[in-house]
């Protein structure tokens, strides 16, 4: 999986490409652990994300919990497969999907 970072002030945009699964989610987790300090607006661009598994959900859940405390988190360009996963797991309830 490739992750493209775009940092502008306190706003961070992460463009994910490929699969957010068991193999790749630790990569995102590590990234978030170091990059989120001082960020008030986190945006995920899923335009090139094929799909995500429960491992990816776990990372997103933890990111959402943190961003709820220090700012906002948004998801953009979510495809149908990913949207379905969010729907099934009830993540649609608390994620902000644009």
């Amino acid at each position: 999986m490739n992750i493209t970072k775009t940092l502008g002030g306190t706003s961070l945009t992460l463009a994910l490409e490929g699969r957010l699964d068991t193999t790749s989610s630790p990569q995102l987790e590590t990234l978030l652990a170091t990059e989120l300090d001082g960020v008030t607006s986190l945006v995920f661009d899923f335009a090139n994300l094929d799909y995500l598994s429960s491992a990816g959900l776990r990372v997103l859940l933890s990111a959402q919990k943190r961003m709820s405390r220090q700012g906002t988190m948004k998801l953009r360009n979510v495809n149908a497969t990913v949207k379905e996963v969010f729907d099934i797991t009830g993540f649609t309830e608390f994620l902000t999907i644009e």
Partner: protein, 699 residues
């Protein structure tokens, strides 16, 4: 019950009829008794009346003999004087030779009694044997209008005789005095009586004791001599109401008097009533006994009938029970998978039957199917059927190559060992190889199945490997083989189909079956299914049979081969790389088929969840991945096996997806995704491996 009342009513009618007959016979008998009583009375009357007159005249004669003293001539005047004294009309004195010595009639002396027959009769008195002789009233010799009666009395030693004559007219005057008392004292039966009345004025000279002061004239008694029924000839009985009582009467005119003998028939009718009463009691007893006896017998008969009805019911219950057992063992859960489709049905007949069908997997690539017909019925038949069914299944499973012929040989030997009811079973057993569509089969005397190809004529598989099961102990069944191409079907049935009859008794037959099947497979190839075939054949048979009762069980089984399955398999080491390497493998596999992006992603997510779970938790050394593609329905089945500790991830509880963000945990989401996105999810533990498979059908 109806019969009993019928008999009771019949007995009652008989009872009444017999009583009426008894009454009638008694009446006739009473009438006869009355008649004979009256006959006797009239005879008695006649002799008494004549006897009384005779006696009176004899007394006169004796007195005259005494007065005259001896036989000798006397003047006419002297004789007339004597006649006047004794109030008679004629006296003649005759000597031993019949010469009339003295007479009240001047013309008679010097005539001889021997000259005339009537007078000659008296000459017997001169023979000294008889003392007196009486003659009835007869018309007089000189004047026929005058009825005169003569009595002769002999002189001692037959020296002569005195003949005294009296005219009826004179007697009429004397009659009341002589006779009146007789009638008063004369009894006729117990209640009968005599009436004697003057012929001219009807004055009663007698009056029966019972009606002493009720009448002085005959008219007052109620007697009507002018009635057309009355015949006063002493012989005819007629009815008159006398003193207010119906009486059987006889009447006679005698000496200027009307003498009536009257007998109230009620007297004899008393006997009649008594007789009928006795008869009533006796008949009631006899008929009552008869009716009671019949009721008892009928009751017993009813009980026997009830007993047999109960027995028949028991037999029906047994039949029903056998039927229930038979139906309960038939599999109704038809597997729906990528290898084959199967449908079967058994329509039981009311009486005979013992059909069954069966199908079961022998291993992952071999499917057994069969139809059979047991010759017995009821519980015995059903149990024998169950036994046979279990044996066939056991023998097939135990047979290393799944050879149905060998299995049948063993089943037959086993069935023959214990078959006291001498039942037998026809069976057709096939084993379908799911990898290539080949069917190994053996036929124990069963109807030939049909192989059906789309839009082609059906082909009968007439190979027969041996006689029915349980007939002969040592039978080696032969093995045959055929093959089904993808989409082709095999149709099995029992004789209940071909031997179904219409109301005229025509058989359904193999020809109609073939025609029906051709019709059924002529549609779109994909639309032709075993269950469609099953329904088509059953509908056709039902239409043919119309209202005719179903004589035998009707069983059909259709199996369709869906074609060989593509299987791919690879094993992986169970380490951190396993998740990505299995995902790569599946991705490569999915290139082979035409599936959507989303279907592909869902399969990969599922695989990710399963494999990551295995790597994380199972402590396994290796992972095997099997990918199977199927055509009908189009889809893929992925199986993940691992040799780790037994763990069924499907037992993991579903997470609550409604709780707020802060409380959400990531656990269980993987299985949830599997459940929601896959069409089938299955876990089993076999041969020391966890095997989790998930299937996705392609749109």
């Amino acid at each position: 019950m109806k019969r009993r009342w019928f008999i009771a009513i019949a007995a009652l009618i008989l009872y009444v009829a017999m009583l009426l007959a008894t009454w009638d016979v008694s009446t006739q008998r009473a009438d006869r008794q009355t008649q004979s009583m009256l006959d006797y009375a009239m005879l008695d009357l006649d002799s008494t009346l004549n006897g009384s007159i005779d006696t009176m005249l004899m007394h006169v004669g004796e007195s005259i003999v005494k007065d005259l003293g001896q036989v000798g001539p006397h003047s006419v005047e002297e004789m007339q004087g004597i006649a006047e004294q004794y109030d008679v009309d004629e006296i003649n004195l005759v000597d031993r030779t019949g010469r009339n010595l003295a007479s009240t009639d001047a013309r008679l002396p010097e005539t001889n009694f021997n000259d005339k027959p009537r007078s000659k009769e008296f000459m017997i008195l001169t023979e000294g044997k008889r003392l007196a002789l009486s003659q009835p009233f007869r018309p007089g010799a000189h004047n026929p209008d005058v009825h005169r009666k003569y009595v002769g009395v002999a002189f001692p030693n037959g020296a002569g005789l005195v003949q005294v004559g009296i005219d009826e007219t004179r007697l009429v005057q004397k009659f009341p005095a002589i006779m009146g008392f007789i009638f008063d004292a004369w009894l006729l039966g117990e209640h009968g009586f005599f009436l004697c009345a003057d012929l001219e004025d009807g004055h009663l000279i007698s009056n029966p004791a019972r009606h002493r002061d009720e009448a002085t004239n005959l008219a007052e008694t109620g007697y009507n001599p002018n009635s057309p029924f009355v015949k006063e000839d002493a012989k005819t009985t007629f009815r008159q109401c006398l003193f207010g009582e119906i009486c059987d009467c006889r009447a006679v005119i005698f000496c200027g008097h009307r003498i009536i003998a009257a007998l109230p028939p009620a007297e004899y009718y008393t006997t009649r009533t008594l007789y009928t009463l006795v008869m009533a009691v006796v008949l009631a007893f006899v008929l009552g006994l008869f009716v009671m006896l019949f009721w008892r017998i009928d009751n017993d008969a009813a009980r026997i009938q009830a007993f047999y009805a109960a027995e028949a019911e028991k037999a029906a219950v047994e039949l029903e029970l056998g039927r229930t057992i038979q139906m309960s063992v038939l599999p109704t859960d038809f597997p729906d998978n990528e290898h084959f489709r199967i449908a079967a049905s058994m329509t039981p007949a009311r009486e005979v039957g013992g059909d069954f069908y069966d199908f079961f997997a022998l291993d992952e690539t071999h499917q057994a199917f069969l139809v059979a017909d047991v010759s017995g019925k009821g519980i015995t038949g059903a149990l024998y059927m169950m036994n046979a069914r279990t044996l066939i299944k056991d023998m097939l499973l135990a047979e290393p190559t799944f050879n149905p012929a060998t299995a049948l040989t063993q089943v037959n030997a086993e069935l023959c060992r214990n078959n006291p009811a001498e039942m037998f079973i026809t069976a057709w057993v096939g084993v379908l190889d799911l990898e290539n569509g080949r069917i190994a089969f053996a036929n124990a005397g069963h109807n030939p199945p049909l192989r059906l190809r789309n839009k082609e004529l059906p082909e009968w598989l007439r190979e027969r490997s041996g006689c029915p099961l349980a007939c002969f102990e040592k039978v080696n069944y032969r093995l045959f083989e055929t093959a089904l191409a993808a989409g082709e079907m095999l149709f099995l049935y029992t004789d209940g189909v071909t031997e179904a009859m219409d109301p005229e008794g025509n058989l359904y037959g193999e020809g109609r079956l073939a025609t029906t099947l051709v019709g059924a497979v002529s549609g779109e190839p994909d639309a032709v299914t075993p269950s469609g075939l099953d329904q088509a054949v059953r509908a056709s048979v039902r239409l043919f049979a119309d209202d005719a009762p179903q004589a035998d069980d009707l069983t059909v089984l259709a199996i369709q081969y869906l074609g060989a399955v593509e299987r791919y398999m690879r094993t992986f080491s169970c380490n951190d790389k396993a998740v990505s390497s299995t995902a790569e493998y599946l991705t490569a596999m999915l290139e082979k088929c035409n599936c959507s992006e989303m279907e592909r992603s869902q399969l990969l997510i599922a695989l990710d969840e399963v494999v990551s779970n295995v790597v994380r938790c199972s402590n396994a050394s290796g992972i095997a991945l099997e990918v199977r593609f199927s055509r009908a329905p189009r889809g893929v089945t992925v199986s993940v096996s691992d040799d780790g500790k037994p763990f069924n991830p499907l037992y993991v509880p579903e997470p609550d997806t409604k709780v707020p963000l802060e409380e959400r945990t990531p656990g269980g989401l993987g299985i949830l995704l599997l459940r929601k996105t896959m069409d089938d999810l299955n876990y089993r533990y076999a041969h020391g491996c966890n095997i989790l498979s998930f299937r996705k059908n392609f749109a």
